[in-house]
């Protein structure tokens, strides 16, 4: 009984970490900058493909992970410059543009990479035994990596000047601009960081699950749920919400019904929005 619960909890936390890294990008880009990028899930997909092709070329998973982060950060910077900067005034525009982008990216990916699912060679195989517990090593590695990513990002926010500028923008965009924060440039950096996180999440997803051109939808939806659940623009909110959702899903599918797995998140989201409209850590201004 206890064993089962611990096992389920560790599964949940592992998936939750992945969710959190996607949600972080969304909560930053949407909550802080106000750009509604629905193509965020496609960045996860592209990141997974970058990692897959690098690994398949024999360069190894670690190079693949690094390349996925860099490639997606650059791609994000390009998108921000070319497209999303022009939609700042109207989130609806951002939504429609990203709908177009999703069509372009997904179908180009389907045409070039074929729609067949692919499986990446994970860097670790086998299990780790902790007393009676059996944990997959690759899952543990993913958990460690997401923790490192999120922790690193958190340090970046707390310790660097740029991080300070981002926090200032989160508090008050106009105030930040008045004290000399280059709001446009910081926004571009946030977009690039969010995309890089999506790329990393993609590489990690790809090491656990099948990679296909249409894999981006599920992480995107969960990312939006978590961004709202944690409070738009709140970094700790996104992380905690990610872990909670991972736990809710793994316990829900273990003890209630597995086929309704994706539904638990929506139930959580609806309840949150109805009774805590600003999310767990959102400020009162949380609105578009």
């Amino acid at each position: 009984m206890w064993l089962d619960i611990v096992q389920t909890a560790s599964d949940g936390l592992m998936v939750g970490g992945l969710y959190a890294s996607v949600a972080l990008g969304i909560t930053l880009v949407f909550g802080l900058v106000g750009m509604l990028n629905f193509a965020h899930g496609q960045m996860v997909m592209l990141g997974a493909y970058v990692a897959f092709f690098t690994t398949a070329a024999g360069l190894g998973f670690w190079v693949g992970l690094g390349l996925a982060i860099i490639a997606m950060a650059l791609f994000g910077a390009l998108l921000e410059r070319a497209v999303f900067r022009r939609t700042l005034s109207d989130p609806m525009m951002g939504l429609t543009v990203s709908l177009g982008l999703i069509m372009i990216i997904e179908n180009l990916a389907a045409a070039w990479f074929t729609p067949d699912p692919r499986f990446m060679e994970p860097p670790l195989s086998g299990d780790v035994r902790l007393g009676p517990l059996v944990l997959s090593s690759q899952r543990l590695l993913v958990m460690a990596l997401t923790t490192a990513l999120i922790g690193g990002f958190y340090l970046f926010l707390k310790a660097t000047t740029l991080g300070k500028a981002i926090r200032a923008m989160a508090q008050n965009r106009q105030g930040a601009a008045l004290v000399g924060v280059k709001v446009t440039r910081v926004s571009a950096v946030i977009f690039a960081i969010g995309s890089g996180l999506a790329g990393a999440a993609g590489a990690l997803y790809g090491s656990l699950f099948a990679i296909s051109p249409f894999m981006g939808t599920a992480p995107l939806m969960k990312g939006f749920i978590l961004a709202a659940f944690g409070g738009l623009g709140s970094v700790p909110g996104a992380i905690i919400a990610g872990c909670l959702l991972g736990l809710a899903e793994s316990f829900g599918s273990r003890y209630l019904s597995a086929s309704f797995r994706d539904g638990y998140g929506f139930v959580v989201l609806i309840l949150t929005l109805l009774f805590m409209p600003n999310g767990l850590f959102g400020k009162r201004k949380a609105r578009v």
Binding site: F38, V83, R86, T87, D90, P91, M92, M93, L95, T96, V97, L99, G100, L101, I102, M103, I104, E106, N107, L108, A110, A111, T217, M221, F224, I225, A228, L232, S257, S259, F260, D262, G263, F266, V267, L269, I270, L273, L274, P277, A286, R287, V288
Partner: protein, 336 residues
């Protein structure tokens, strides 16, 4: 002023054209509507029916998004509810097609009110958008997992067609087209009637400024919920008509991706305008249909069209035409 004195003659001629533009648009629409009645090619009739249904769906979504300004992402779910409710009532309750419509609409209306009432109390679109998004996905998951009732994720084959009415046989392709076209015209009529009624003006006031609307004595939440219920019921009606047309329904038709695509149609065509959803639907469906390139690249081209249109033509096709007309009128007024 300078342009008015230098080019009055040039301004007058385009003005006459510009004033004719909406009429020309509706004339083209009427002609397009008549095409599947004259050309009996199965493909044309099929495409016409599909387009009419989709245009009706987009028009009904325009009521809540374009006129009331509330960002609903559950439209596809209500489309599916209409289809499932009507089909299940026919299968299990022994009702006829026409008799199943009313209870199906009632189910959709009650559900929309139950979702809309708590969700629409908040100002600012994001809560409503997220709640309708989540509810829509929940409803889809419900349809996919309630195997005994809905047939599960594989979907459901539907053997029935609507009983003959007014001497029209709906088991033929053209009969279904007449029904779909009637649905489109009905939806257009309802939305237009709402738009220019007291209710519609209240919705526009709410869209522009909720606080101001409330201070004028408009019951903001009640009006928003009424608009959401009306819009969702129209979507359910379109779904109920779609079911016998396709002969097959599955939870796929309820996915949020479909709802988001409908929002895209509205924005491409011109949000808040009467003709916009129809133009948007035509662009969305006709462009890929007539581009004879490989499957994936059609959607890529459509994606490019959407991105370019939103960036450079944010009011949509119809919005641009309207603006052009107004500006011409203004410059002529200035010249005279």
């Amino acid at each position: 002023m300078i342009s008015a004195t230098t080019a009055p003659a040039r301004a007058v001629v385009p003005d006459r054209w510009a004033r004719l533009l909406p009429w020309a648009g509706w004339l083209v629409f009427a002609a397009l509507l008549a095409v599947p009645l004259v050309v009996s090619s199965r493909y044309v009739v099929y495409l016409g029916t599909l387009l009419a249904l989709q245009a009706g769906l987009a028009t009904s979504l325009n009521l809540i998004i374009g006129i009331a300004g509330q960002f609903a992402l559950s439209h596809a779910a209500f489309y599916g509810i209409g289809a499932y409710a009507s089909a299940l009532l026919i299968e299990h309750a022994g009702l006829g097609f026409w008799a199943s419509l009313l209870p199906a609409l009632a189910i959709a209306g009650v559900l929309a009110a139950a979702i809309g009432w708590p969700a629409l109390r908040y100002t600012g679109g994001i809560h409503f958008a997220l709640i309708t998004f989540a509810c829509g996905e929940l409803l889809r998951l419900l349809a996919a997992n309630w195997d005994d009732l809905t047939g599960g994720p594989q979907g459901k084959r539907l053997p029935y067609s609507p009983e003959p009415l007014l001497g029209i046989d709906f088991s033929s392709g053209q009969g279904m087209y007449v029904l779909a076209a009637a649905l489109l015209l009905l939806t257009l009529g309802v939305v237009a009637a709402i738009r220019w009624s007291r209710f519609g003006r209240a919705l526009v006031a709410i869209r522009e400024d909720e606080v101001l609307a409330a201070s004028l004595g408009i019951a903001v939440t009640r009006n928003k919920v009424a608009a959401f219920v009306a819009s969702s019921m129209l979507a359910a009606l379109a779904g109920a008509v779609y079911a016998p047309f396709a002969g097959f329904i599955s939870p796929e038709m309820m996915s949020t991706g479909e709802s988001v695509a409908m929002v895209g149609m509205l924005i491409v065509g011109g949000i808040g305008t009467l003709g916009g959803p129809i133009v948007g639907t035509l662009i969305f469906f006709a462009v890929p249909e007539f581009l004879r390139v490989a499957k994936f690249y059609r959607l890529v081209i459509l994606g490019v069209v959407i991105v370019v249109m939103v960036l450079f033509l944010p009011q949509g096709v119809v919005g641009l035409a309207t603006k052009f007309r107004r500006r011409r009128r203004a410059s002529v007024a200035e010249a005279s």
